[in-house]
Amino acid sequence: MTDRGPTLTQRLRARGLDGVTLLVLPCVLAIIALFIYPFLYGLWLSFQPKDGTTMGNYDRFFREPFLYKTIWTTLKISIPVTILNLLLAVPIAFRVRLMKHQRLLTTILVLPITLGTVLVAEGMLFYFGPQGWFSRTVMALGLMDHAPSITHGYWGVFLSLLITGFPFTFLLTLSYVTGIEPALEQAAATLGAGPAARFREIFLPLLLPGLAITFCLSFVQAYSVLPSAILVGDPANTTRVISIAAYQAAFEDYDYSLASAIAMIMGAVQLVVVAAILGARTLVYRGPVAAAKG
């Protein structure tokens, strides 16, 4: 007990290693136990194509437009949907935040989350179908003289992702939004910031970390869209997303090796987008959003 310098634990703590840090361990161990081996196996498998070369699958993927085009098709659906979802969720969350009786509306807005892709797809086929209530109403109102063709195409998938993705985005956004101390908004108001400026200068920067995560998770969800692309889309053409390619390789051609390779490419593309967003997230302020005092 003669040392006066920091002890080992303190030095570790200064580097961020202490009891609290250990809390990641159970989670990390669980993932390592359940995920790492299967993942590595999949990775290994992707380098074992049927033709025997190592890079065969990847080579083939980037050679055949039928395969590599799916990346673009997928991004073309998933990114706009994700952005639109956020663009809708944020203002609505801001409105709902101010309401006294927000529970009912919240429940209704979150409702689509319970539907599942199948119900949404079925519903869309019915509702937007040529004989559905939507088309009938549109025609009855004389807005259009023939049934709008929404399903079985890009917009079908887009809408279905919007419907299933919105509650997800909204729920997260609402909870992030309400975590921000109202006094900050008030302070901004006394300094002459109108609603738009308050949003831009105060809420947005404070929300960004949360919105970034929300974006990533919604994006990942939209990116791996499979059932709705098949059910309400045009899976042979405009909505032939990359997960369809992977699915076909695995379950129609039973070429698990190619499927793994496609899945790896799919993961890599997502990783690029997610890493970009999360990387940008480290640039913005992250920390308590309560009124700082003391």
């Binding site: 250990l22 993932i31 609505i92 919105f166 101390e181 008030q186 993961g267 920390g287």
Partner: protein, 282 residues
């Protein structure tokens, strides 16, 4: 300028616009759900505003065909465990990641991102093999373990920004007054984080109910969940009445809906900090 009314036109227009979008969305949503629900009760519905007649028979048929009683029970069990375990593993890990900068943190984050990024096609089969090897395959435990792979990282990622939002001095206060990490969680963090935890777990719940691939690969005869039955109804070969698919979809929706309503009944998704202060904001 002397403004005389409370809210200027632009603000009112904006609010009107937002509400219009909400109402439009909700109306169409209800129409969409209504279509399916109506159809699931229809005897025949061909090109008219409303079906020719109504019947329960699709539900009874589905109930018998898939032994839905058992399937629902298994689904509830699986979902319950997955939600609890991913909460228990995920929230503390998110806490550590939000509050500490430590060497290797990036690596841990990547490790947690991967299960969300990589489609289950790749790792589903080997994962199932592993689970069968250690004897969990075909059992409830196996299904639960497999479902944890995507949900735990999900909880972690959702929770990180929530935890960052909370003033660490509140935790400091709890520690000063004798709360260890566990008690800080139970008494301070979790209650304050409740909206976040709720949101995350609700989403986990939905994802678990919807997780077909991993569940299917690991499930045995007694551990099938609802989504397997639903996917069978939709994707299986053979003729199937649209109404019976709709009936399954409605059962599926109701199952999830029950959880949603229970969850929202007890916890408000808006943060308590804001609620206490709502009176002072306008």
């Amino acid at each position: 300028m002397r403004a005389s009314s409370r809210t200027p036109l632009t603000t009112r227009l904006w609010a009107f616009g937002v509400w219009s979008v909400v109402i439009f969305f909700v109306l169409n949503l209800l129409g969409l759900i209504g279509s399916v629900v109506t159809s699931s009760f229809a005897t025949r519905w061909l090109g008219t505003w409303f079906p020719a007649g109504f019947t329960w028979k699709w539900y009874f048929a589905a109930w018998d065909e898939f032994q839905l009683g058992d399937v629902l029970w298994v689904t509830f069990e699986v979902v319950g465990w997955v939600v609890v375990i991913s909460g228990l593993l995920g929230v503390p890990a998110a806490y550590a990641l939000a509050r500490r900068e430590f060497p290797g943190k990036r690596f841990v984050v990547l490790l947690l991102l991967l299960p969300l990024l990589v489609p289950s096609v790749t790792y589903g089969i080997p994962l199932a093999t592993v689970l069968y090897k250690v004897g969990f395959g075909g059992s409830l435990v196996g299904v639960i373990l497999a479902n944890l792979v995507p949900t735990v990282p999900f909880v972690v990622l959702v929770m990180i920004p929530f935890i960052e939002q909370i003033d660490p001095r509140i935790e400091s206060a709890a520690r000063v007054f004798g709360a260890n990490t566990f008690k800080v969680f139970v008494y301070v963090l979790v209650p304050i984080l409740m909206p976040g935890v709720l949101a995350a777990l609700l989403l986990v719940l939905v994802r678990t109910i919807a997780m077909f691939e991993l569940t299917f690969l690991v499930a045995g005869p007694g551990s099938q969940t609802l989504v397997v039955a639903l996917y069978y109804a939709v994707f299986a070969a053979g003729v199937r009445a649209v109404q019976s698919i709709d009936a399954m979809a409605v059962v599926y929706m109701v199952t999830t809906l029950i959880w949603l309503i229970i969850a929202l009944r007890f916890v408000n998704p808006t943060q308590i900090v804001a609620r206490a202060k709502r009176d002072t904001s306008h």
